[in-house]
């Protein structure tokens, strides 16, 4: 599995010499993969390939997930939310399943039951999310409590937005994690908006990492569009969690390029704000740096994007050809 091999390859080098070329290229590859998959998903949605529903694009926020999830082990847990379909890709879920999820086909991990973007994958410990905002933080914190009790060195990474920090469940989860120094990393993707609600109507704070003060563990704010910065902060947090030192709240300052969902024109946002953030594109920015360092070449880039395009096409074909589940499944999996 990708996440496994990532680990095998990366970990030693990271310890030796920080951001190895290999690491930087795999971060780049993954940023590009998330970007291309997400944009493909948006196209498919517009072409009505989905069985209705909705899609919550994370374009613009890729670095927050790539930087925090790329080095996770297969046995580490991920608690995603509605905008974290790509977290499945980073953790190493075969792409065909990710697209089958969008199509709500019988070959998706949940046999089409959850909405397209609400994806989990039990074999890789990715929790199938409810839509209930912050719910994944509570369940993920429970998983962390269980892991600690079992004495494992496994960690949990939970993803959520700025909006999720207003609800009671967020507080109860982080408070409990603080009391028991649980092995969990809370990754807040602060994209300045909860659907159409601006930060100023959600909180009196500007840095949501400040919320961590109330729970007695570290809170860090990081440029969520700088994949290496996110990666470094995440490595520290993951190491803390693995070694039993407890949780970390990471606030990634970032921005979603498109509407809250594909059906949201997002008229509540200023064009200037959107344009300014598009200039801070996490993919182009990192790509530029790699070109400057000559770590990346046009040939190499083409190789990467061709490979991803091929993978995506295969996955889409798989999804297209997969059947819908049968209506007779309605009453399956209610009880054991």
């Amino acid at each position: 599995m990708a996440s496994k091999s990532n680990r095998a390859v990366l970990e030693p080098e990271i310890e030796k010499n920080g951001h190895s070329t290999e690491l930087q290229l795999s971060l780049y590859r993954m940023l590009m993969k998330c970007r291309m998959c997400d944009e493909k998903a948006r196209v498919l949605f517009k072409q009505n390939k989905f069985a209705g529903g909705n899609f919550y694009s994370a374009v613009g926020q890729e670095a927050t997930e790539v930087g925090t999830a790329i080095s996770l082990r297969a046995d580490d847990w991920v608690a995603p939310s509605h905008r974290d379909w790509t977290a499945n890709i980073i953790k190493g879920v075969p792409l065909k399943f990710c697209f089958a999820q969008l199509y709500a086909k019988a070959t998706s991990p949940d046999r089409g039951r959850s909405s397209p973007a609400h994806m989990g994958y039990p074999p890789l410990n990715i929790i199938t999310p409810a839509s209930s905002i912050a719910g994944q933080l509570n369940v993920g914190t429970g998983v962390a409590l269980g892991l600690k009790r079992l004495g494992r060195d496994t960690v949990v990474v939970a993803y959520f937005g700025d909006g999720a920090t207003s609800i009671g469940g967020f507080h109860e989860a982080l408070n409990l994690a603080g009391v028991h120094r649980l092995p969990i990393i809370y990754v807040c993707q602060n994209n300045l908006w909860a659907e159409s609600v601006p930060l100023r109507l959600q909180t009196a704070l500007t840095d949501l990492s400040q919320r961590a003060v109330a729970y007695g563990f570290p809170g860090v704010s990081v440029d969520g569009n700088d994949v290496l910065a996110v990666y470094d902060v995440a490595q520290t947090a993951i190491a803390r969690a693995r070694s039993g030192e407890g949780p970390t709240l990471i606030e990634c300052k970032t921005y979603r390029w498109y509407g809250h969902s594909e059906i949201d024109p997002a008229r509540y946002r200023m064009k200037e704000e959107v344009e300014a953030w598009k200039k801070k594109c996490p993919v182009q920015r990192f790509e530029k740096a790699l070109f400057e360092k000559k770590t990346l070449t046009d040939a190499k880039k083409k190789e990467v994007t061709d490979e991803i395009t091929r993978e995506i096409n295969e996955a889409v074909d798989f999804a297209e050809q997969s059947p819908y589940p049968d209506a007779s499944e309605l009453m399956d999996h209610i009880w054991a």
């Binding site: 529903g53 086909k105 909405s115 839509s131 659907e195 159409s196 909180t203 819908y324 049968d326 009453m331």
Partner: protein, 328 residues
């Protein structure tokens, strides 16, 4: 002067007119401001009345409801919105332990006239967490009133009645009706009384008790069967708590047969309560079993089309029920 409006259009009009008429009224919820609501129910109101009266809140349903409860205690008339019934669960504590019991526990010393708008029900591609109906929990809690309109006329009239009601009202809006239902709505001010059902169609052979999105379905089935000579009476409950027993009982006493149709799950849905009321108070009048045609006892409406389709009660199922009961 009346003209036709959609169900959601009637809701928007009621909100706007009441904001205009009574400056104690204000709306609060997620995305009700500049975005005008996920389905557009509050479109244009923020522009007209401003942030003070159309307030976007933090993402916290408990805070939305308790902000409404508290501000109603100082004389305001808040109309909080719960974006989807699926997300009312974080506010159940505030609704049931605070709102429903405030008047009772203070022996009338305090009360909270709030109207909680809740968008509910299955519709194209809502899936497990954008299709739920949980009217049943709140009907179990005296102190609350629960309504669900089925027509644009009732959508406006019940909403105005709810906002002016001295008690907490849960106003459930069925999202499948938002744009599929369109009927005549007076431009002016009027209310539809809370606690009164409506006989949508008279009939001698059997009674169909229903509400919300199952009203049009039941009406169509009744129409189809009428061609075959079976006349079903269709009662639109409109208010689920307190139930309009009189209308229910007199209809069934007339027809002596009854079926209940709802989209909600069967077990512990309102169908059970209605059936029990009939067995207690109209046993002698019943000439056949009381049928329930309802959603399945599954956790929620799955997203994938075959499972979603398998959930929602269709005209054919209601017709089959009518045939079975008529033949009884």
């Amino acid at each position: 002067m009346a003209r036709t409006l959609t169900y959601i259009g009637a809701i928007t009009e009621a909100l706007g007119q009441e904001l205009e008429r009574d400056d104690r009224v204000f709306l609060l919820g997620e995305d009700i401001g500049p975005s005008g609501g996920v389905f557009g129910a509050t479109a244009g109101l923020w522009e007209k009345f401003g942030e003070e009266r159309v307030l976007d809140t933090p993402l916290a349903e408990g805070a939305i409801i308790s902000a409404a409860i508290g501000s109603s205690m100082v004389g305001l008339r808040p109309v909080p919105e719960i974006q989807f019934a699926d997300f009312i669960t974080p506010a159940v504590d505030q609704i049931i332990q605070q709102a429903a019991k405030l008047r009772y526990r203070s022996a009338g010393g305090f009360n909270c006239p709030i109207t909680v708008r809740v968008c509910c029900g299955a519709s194209g591609g809502g899936g497990l967490y954008h299709s739920q109906e949980n009217t049943a929990w709140f009907m179990h809690e005296p102190g609350l009133k629960v309504v669900m309109p089925a027509t644009a006329y009732d959508a406006k009239g019940l909403l105005l009645a709810a906002i002016r009601d001295p008690d907490p009202v849960l106003y459930f809006e069925h999202k499948r009706l938002y744009r599929n239902v369109k009927d005549e709505v007076p431009e002016g001010d009027y209310t539809v009384p809370i606690g009164k059902a409506a006989v949508r169609r008279e009939g001698r052979d059997l009674t169909i008790l229903t509400y919300g999105a199952m009203v049009p379905v039941s009406m169509q089935a009744a129409g189809d069967m009428s061609k075959k000579g079976v006349e079903a009476e269709v009662v639109d409950l409109r208010t689920l708590a307190p139930l309009d027993k009189d209308t229910v009982l007199s209809s069934v006493r007339k027809t002596s047969k009854c079926m209940i149709v709802h989209e909600d799950k069967r077990t512990m849905g309102v169908g059970g309560e209605l059936s029990a009321i009939l067995s207690e108070e109209a046993f002698e009048d019943l000439d056949g079993p009381i049928l329930r045609i309802t959603g399945p006892d599954a956790p929620a409406v799955a997203f994938t089309p075959p499972l979603q389709k398998a959930w929602i009660v269709g005209v054919d199922q209601v017709v089959a029920g009518i045939e079975r009961l008529a033949a009884y």
